[in-house]
């Protein structure tokens, strides 16, 4: 059957050209924050939470009058699936088609770094709210700003908890085999070494397709370390905890924000008892910024926000502050300058960018005790 007659082919070609070159943005009074996230793939859950945090912030900002001069803040969201070349395409589309004034390409760190090639050349400010890789600020891009913590700071925070226990002489580690996991173990090992802490007897990286951890847990059990650093994402984290019980492995647990998870607490509470984890933020924080954030988020989404959401909130708030400072009729350079001068009290801590564009926000440590998360430092 001839679906594609010559005439239809020609029409299709014309239609495609129009679609491709047409402009999608509306010319109304909005300033666009272009967002690229992993809406599909293993980081989808984190992306979703992050985005919700951003939406809550946008709502608050716009209700308070927008970003100055009657302009509202608007989010344009695109999916890069975690593939760097797609992230580059998304960044370009956000800049050229969607006319974003500033872009946030996150999750995982590799896409943020890939996007930096674009923002550096196009001279468009890029803010990263979930990029922990130390290398992100080493790309020589003056338009890049990292508004969150780093793997090194996360490692430092957790290392203090790890070396606090004098009986802790050996530790085994497990993390995902991606840039996050590799950085996490590297930063933590270095921090522990600096603090004169336990010896790392085993470190392994699992592929994100892995669902069965019994083999590696058995291996760890046979090495009999004094403690474990298990940085496993949801829902593999639930599997890991369950399988630890199944094989009779019980040790002091250390982890990251991956263990700070309402569903995990709900379904495996007793298994988490005593575990300490490094986070950028948690709802147990009591400072004013956190309270404001939690209130706004709960009002919009009827649920308690998590670490990822808080990062999205901060990124948006920092952007809004910079936009207000740059004023209407800004150009990229003015916005960049405004960003470099930002001083914002975020739920995670003070956000102020250094000469390299790094905010180096310190990380925190939580402990899970008696069914709830408590702040340790």
């Amino acid at each position: 059957m001839k679906i594609l007659t010559p005439l239809r082919m020609k029409l299709a070609i014309v239609a495609c050209s129009v679609l491709l070159t047409g402009s999608f943005g509306n010319a109304a009074e909005t300033v666009k924050l272009g967002v690229g996230l992993s809406m599909t793939g293993p980081l989808a859950f984190l992306s979703q939470q992050y985005l919700q945090g951003m939406k809550a912030a946008v709502d608050v900002v716009n209700k308070a009058g927008g970003v100055g001069g009657g302009r509202m803040l608007e989010l344009v969201v695109r999916d890069h699936k975690g593939v760097p070349s797609e992230a580059v395409a998304v960044t370009k589309r956000l800049i050229e088609e969607d006319k974003a004034a500033i872009v946030d390409i996150d999750l995982p760190s590799t896409v943020a770094i890939a996007a930096e090639a674009v923002t550096k050349e196009s001279k468009v400010p890029q803010i990263a709210g979930f990029t922990f890789a130390p290398a992100a600020v080493q790309q020589g891009n003056t338009f890049f700003f990292r508004a969150c913590t780093t793997s090194d700071l996360i490692g430092d925070a957790l290392a203090q908890s790890i070396v606090a226990d004098k009986n802790n002489k050996t530790i085994a580690m497990l993390a995902p085999n991606d840039d996050y996991g590799r950085s996490a173990i590297k930063s933590l090992s270095e921090a522990i070494a600096r603090a004169g802490g336990p010896k790392v007897v085993y470190a392994d990286y699992y592929e994100r397709t892995q669902s069965d951890f019994s083999a590696v847990l058995l291996k760890m059990k046979s090495l009999n370390p004094d403690s474990l650093f298990i940085d496993v994402r949801w829902p593999a984290s639930l599997t890991v905890l369950k399988q630890m019980v199944e094989i009779g492995l019980k040790k002091p647990l250390f982890s990251s924000v991956n263990f700070y998870n309402a569903k995990l607490a709900e379904q495996a509470g007793p298994l988490l008892e005593g575990a300490q984890m490094s986070v950028a933020w948690a709802p147990v924080f009591t400072d004013a910024a956190s309270v404001e954030f939690v209130k706004a988020y709960e009002a919009m989404f009827k649920q308690t926000p998590d670490d990822s959401a808080s990062l999205g909130w901060t990124t948006t708030m920092v952007t809004a502050q910079a936009l207000k400072a740059a004023g209407p009729g800004f150009d990229s350079e003015a916005l960049r300058k405004a960003l470099s001068n930002v001083n914002y009290n975020s739920p995670q801590g003070p956000v102020k960018f250094d000469a390299k564009g790094d905010a180096s926000v310190a990380a925190h440590v939580l402990r899970f005790k008696d069914g709830g998360y408590h702040l340790v430092r």
């Binding site: 793939g41 859950f45 699992y206 592929e207 069965d212 019994s214 590696v216 058995l218 949801w234």
Partner: protein, 291 residues
């Protein structure tokens, strides 16, 4: 060390049985219909999701959910045969390869849209407390799943060997034209075969999903491992694929335990490459010229 190895072996057997089940679904369609079904992994994934749907949304019990998953996946398989495979029967085989690839994209994206991209948990009625036999830790869930996989495989082998439909399927595999001459309705048998192949892989997805979790991209690697198993176990040999599956599960467990968990997925391919290079015609006597 020996204890560790022992435990890894036992664990590996359990996972291996499920791998075998997945591979059998692939083998049915590949060996009998000579079709490389690139969507087989997605059928496996749908099995997991249908089980999730049945037990969480519909609220049925664990076992009925698994049966529902098999039936629903079989239905998807038959539909796929009608829409994406049958129209291309006369074309070169790589057309079917590509069309099943297109179907795999559609099914994966559809699952993402319907259930979201995050992994989901299938609640299990079994407790986590271990059953300890000597130095080996087991759980009732793992034993149950192993038993179900075994029963399914044996039923399938029996069906293929002893029932009329099973014989018709085998006849079709051997010589399509001769089978047609014998009065076998090739179209109907093809649909049935597709449905069975889908149901087998769907069952594997439901069982594995129940043990861990389900997510839209969970079918990608099992597809390739399934190919590796069919190659190693032999096209057309249920027992061959079963044994190969068990061996793969054990090999993966030992690799994770003694090498690195990051290399686990490599095992299937590395083993298969070694087997093929030593014995290029594959392990079974059918495997001479392949497809």
């Amino acid at each position: 060390m020996l204890e560790l190895a022992f435990q890894q072996v036992v664990n590996g057997l359990l996972v291996g049985a499920i791998y075998a089940l997945m591979a059998l679904g692939l083998m049915v369609i590949l060996g009998i219909l000579r079709i490389i079904n690139m969507a087989q992994g997605e059928l496996y994934m749908l099995g997991g999701y249908f089980c999730y749907f049945a037990s969480v949304t519909l609220g049925v019990g664990y076992v009925p959910a698994i049966i529902f998953a098999m039936a629903a996946t079989a239905g998807v398989g038959v539909l796929m045969d009608r829409l994406a495979v049958r129209p291309l029967l006369r074309r070169p085989f790589y057309m079917v390869f590509l069309s099943t690839f297109a179907v795999s994209m559609i099914l994966e994206n559809a699952a993402e849209l319907i259930w979201g991209p995050d992994p989901q948990n299938i609640p299990s009625p079994f407790s986590s407390s271990p059953i300890i036999i000597g130095p080996i830790f087991l759980t009732s869930q793992k034993l149950f799943i192993f038993a179900v996989a075994l029963v399914t495989i044996i039923s399938f082998a029996t069906f293929l060997r002893w029932t009329r439909v099973g014989m018709a399927i085998r006849a079709l595999a051997r010589d399509r034209d001769a089978a047609l001459l014998m009065g076998i309705n090739a179209d109907r048998i093809q649909s049935i075969t597709f449905g069975i192949g889908a149901a087998l892989s769907g069952a594997a997805g439901a069982l594995l999903g129940a043990m861990f979790n389900v997510y839209p991209t969970m079918g990608q690697l099992p597809l390739l491992k399934g190919f590796a198993l069919v190659v190693m176990g032999g096209m057309g040999s249920v027992s061959g694929v079963f044994v190969a599956g068990l061996m793969l599960g054990v090999a993966e467990g030992l690799t994770a335990g003694f090498l690195s968990i990051g290399y686990v997925d490599l095992v299937a391919f590395a083993t298969m490459l070694v087997v093929l290079l030593i014995r290029p015609q594959g392990l079974s006597k059918w495997g001479k010229s392949g497809v």
